[in-house]
C-alpha cells in the first residue's frame, strides 16, 4: 500500500523535521515516527528527501474506454425540476463536446414522464426516466437503486449531482456502492481527453484550493452547488430521446416510510436576490444589524450573514453565505466587516459586482472584491445611507 517510508530513524535535528508537518504527525522519541494524523500531503518527502520516501501503489489501470458520457441527476421536488439541474446540464454539454461523448440525465420520481420533456429542451442526448409510485417521495434506497441501475446500463464516465439536500444524500450513497470517488462542492470542473475529470474545490477548511482527480475509478462523482455554473439557453431543436426504465420490486423496497410531507412556507431564498448586503464579524453587536438593514432597504437588497453571526443567532440560518450555507450570484453584493475566509468567498465570488468594506488591510475579502474598501463600517455605512437617501429624495423630486 502507499506509504511514507522513513529512511533514517535517528536524526540530529528532530525539532526542525517535526515542524515541517502541518498536521503535527511527525514524532520523535529517540526515533522518528509518523503517527496516524498523517494526511499524506508529502511535504516531509519534499522537504527532507533523504529522510522520507513516498512509496507509491502499484496500480492496475482500468479500461477507461468502457465508460462513456456525462450523466446529470435531475434534482426535483414532486416533479418540479430544480434549476441546478440545468446548470449542470450546461456544464456537462460543454465537457462532453470536448470528448465527443453523450450527455445523459437521470430522472427518478412519480408522474414525471411529461416533465422529462423539459430536460430534453436543454440538449440532453438521453433522459432516463424511472417513474414509479415507490419513487414519489425521496427515499434513499429506491433512489440510489435507480441511479445504480442507470450506471449499470450506460456506464457513464462522469456523474454530476446538484449539492442539494437530496443530492448530498444520494451521491455519496451511490458512489460508495460503486466504490468510486466523490468530490463535494466543486467550484470548477473540466475534462481531459482521457475523460479524467478535473475537480477544484476549497480544502482543508482554510484558505486553500485543491485540484482533485479520480484517476482510476469510474464513474467520477461530483456534487456542485446551485448558482456555481450558468444556466444554458434551451436548444432550438431538441434531438434527445426519453428512455423509460424500471426497477424490480425488491430494488424499490425501502425501510423508510414517509408518514407526512408538509410544504414549507416559501421564503424568498437569498439565492434569488439581485442585491445582497452581508454582515460579518465586523458588526459588533446585534443592535448594529439595523445599520445593515437600513442600507439594504435603500438599495433594495436582501440581508445575509456569515457563519459566526448565524451561530450567534443574529440572522436566519437560511441567509448564511458560504460553503456551509448558500452560494449566491447576485448583481451587487456589499460585504460589511467580512474578512473573507475561503468558505465564504467560494459562496459569492461569481457575483457581478463585489464591494467589500473591512478594517483589516490584509483581509482576503479585499482582494476578492472589485472594490475593496479599507475602513470602518461604522463610519462609512451611515454616511453612505445618508447620501443614497438624499439622492433618492432628489430623484423622486425630479419626477414630480
Amino acid at each position: 500500500m502507499a506509504e511514507i517510508k522513513i529512511l533514517k530513524t535517528k536524526i540530529d535535528n528532530p525539532e526542525e523535521v517535526m515542524s515541517v508537518c502541518p498536521f503535527d504527525s511527525i514524532e520523535y522519541d529517540g526515533k522518528l515516527i509518523i503517527n496516524s494524523g498523517c494526511k499524506m500531503c508529502k511535504i516531509c518527502v519534499k522537504t527532507y528527501p533523504d529522510i522520507f520516501e513516498f512509496i507509491k501503489d502499484e496500480v492496475i489501470e482500468i479500461d477507461k474506454s468502457l465508460w462513456k458520457g456525462i450523466a446529470v441527476y435531475v434534482d426535483h421536488n414532486m416533479g418540479d425540476i430544480h434549476p441546478v439541474t440545468y446548470e449542470l446540464i450546461g456544464k456537462a454539454k460543454e465537457m462532453a463536446a470536448k470528448i465527443s461523448q453523450p450527455v445523459y440525465a437521470v430522472f427518478a420520481g412519480h408522474n414525471i414522464e411529461e416533465k422529462a420533456q423539459q430536460v430534453l429542451k436543454y440538449g440532453v442526448d438521453e433522459v432516463f426516466v424511472y417513474d414509479d409510485p415507490e419513487l414519489e417521495h425521496f427515499r434513499i434506497e429506491p433512489y440510489s437503486a435507480a441511479l445504480d441501475d442507470f450506471i449499470e446500463k450506460r456506464k457513464p464516465s462522469v456523474f454530476l449531482v446538484g449539492g442539494s439536500t437530496t443530492g448530498r444524500s444520494l451521491a455519496p450513497r451511490v458512489a460508495a456502492r460503486r466504490r468510486t470517488g466523490l468530490t463535494a462542492d466543486c467550484t470548477v470542473l473540466d475534462i481531459q481527453e482521457n475523460t479524467d475529470l478535473d475537480q477544484i474545490r476549497p480544502a482543508f477548511g482554510g484558505n486553500v484550493m485543491a485540484h482533485i482527480q479520480t484517476p482510476n475509478h469510474r464513474p467520477q462523482f461530483a456534487t456542485v452547488r446551485y448558482k456555481i455554473f450558468d444556466k444554458p439557453e434551451p436548444v432550438e431543436y431538441p434531438t434527445g430521446k426519453i428512455t423509460l426504465a424500471s426497477l424490480e420490486k425488491d430494488k424499490l423496497a425501502s425501510k423508510i416510510k414517509i408518514l407526512e410531507s408538509r410544504k414549507k412556507e416559501k421564503v424568498k431564498g437569498i439565492e434569488e436576490a439581485e442585491n445582497i448586503i452581508v454582515a460579518g464579524r465586523g458588526v459588533k453587536n446585534e443592535n448594529d444589524m439595523s445599520l445593515i438593514y437600513k442600507l439594504a432597504e435603500l438599495l433594495n437588497a436582501e440581508v445575509a450573514a456569515t457563519r459566526p453571526l448565524i451561530e450567534a443567532g443574529w440572522a436566519d440560518a437560511n441567509t448564511q453565505i458560504g460553503l456551509s450555507g448558500r452560494t449566491v450570484k447576485p448583481k451587487l453584493i456589499i460585504t460589511c466587516g467580512v474578512s473573507g475566509a475561503i468558505q465564504f468567498v467560494a459562496g459569492m465570488k461569481s457575483s457581478t459586482t463585489i464591494i467589500a468594506i473591512d478594517e483589516d488591510e490584509n483581509a482576503p475579502i479585499l482582494s476578492a472584491a472589485h472594490y475593496g474598501i479599507v475602513g470602518d463600517l461604522y463610519e462609512i455605512i451611515p454616511h453612505l445611507c445618508d447620501i443614497i437617501a438624499q439622492k433618492s429624495e432628489k430623484g423622486e423630486m425630479a419626477y414630480v
Partner: protein, 262 residues
Amino acid sequence: MKITVCIKQVPGTTQVEIDEETGNLIRDGIDSKMNPYDLYALETALKIKEETGAETTAVSMGPPQAEEIIREAYMMGIDNGRLYSDRKFAGSDVLATAYTLAQGIKSVEIPDIIICGKMTTDGDTAQVGPEIAEFLNIPHVTNVLSIVEIKDDSIVVEVDMPETIDVAEVKFPCLITVEKGIFQPRLPSYKLKQKTKDREISVYSLQDYKDKNENHYGLSGSPTQVVRIFPPDPNTDHEILRGNGAEIAETLCSKLEEMKYI
C-alpha cells in the same frame, strides 16, 4: 437499545494557508477541538438515552490525540468510546474514511441507530454519513430536524427537505445525520469528568478489523487524489479605496450610480 455517534477532531481555527513560494500548507498552532456539529449528534444520543435507557458509544477515526474528544463525549454522558487509529488510515478520502468507520463499527456490532453531525468544519462535505450507511447496508436519512418518536424497532423523525418537511419512520438499524439546533448541546460536566477519568477508550487498528486488506484503507483505498493545492485566485480586476468615512461614502455612492445600482 444501542446508539453510536460518529465524531471527529477538527482544527480549532480555519487559518490554513499556503506558502506562496513552496506551495506547502502552513497551519498555525496545534489547536484542535470537537467538530461543533458533532455536539448536536451527541446531544441527540443523550436525549434518546434519557428516554429509553439506550447504551451510547462515541467513535472517532484519527490520531491518538483524538482521544481528547472521546473524553469530552464521556463528560457529556456518553458510555463508551472507540478510536480507530492506524497510520495505514492516513490520507483517506471520503470513501476510505467511511469504509474505515463502517468496518470499525461492524467489527463490534451494528447498533440500532448511528448518529452523525450534519458535516465537519474542516471537510465541509457532509458525505461520510451516507457512505457509512451504504457500507453497512442500512437505511439513512440526512438533515434530521427533530425526533418525533422512538418505537421498538424504528425511529420517527422530521426531515428538512428542499421544499417540504417530511415526517419519516425509519426501521432499525439506521443512520441519521442531524441538523444543528435539533437540541441544545449540554456542556461537559465536571462531575462526569471526575467519574470517567479512568474510563477506558478502546483503540482499534487495522489488526482488529475483519477486512485487513491494506488496499481498502488510507491513500491506497482512496479513489480521489489531490493533484495539487494552491491559494485561491485573487480578483485581478480590483481597486482598493481608502479615506475617511464621508469621502469613501461619496466615492462608493458615485460608483454605485455609475453601475446603475442606485
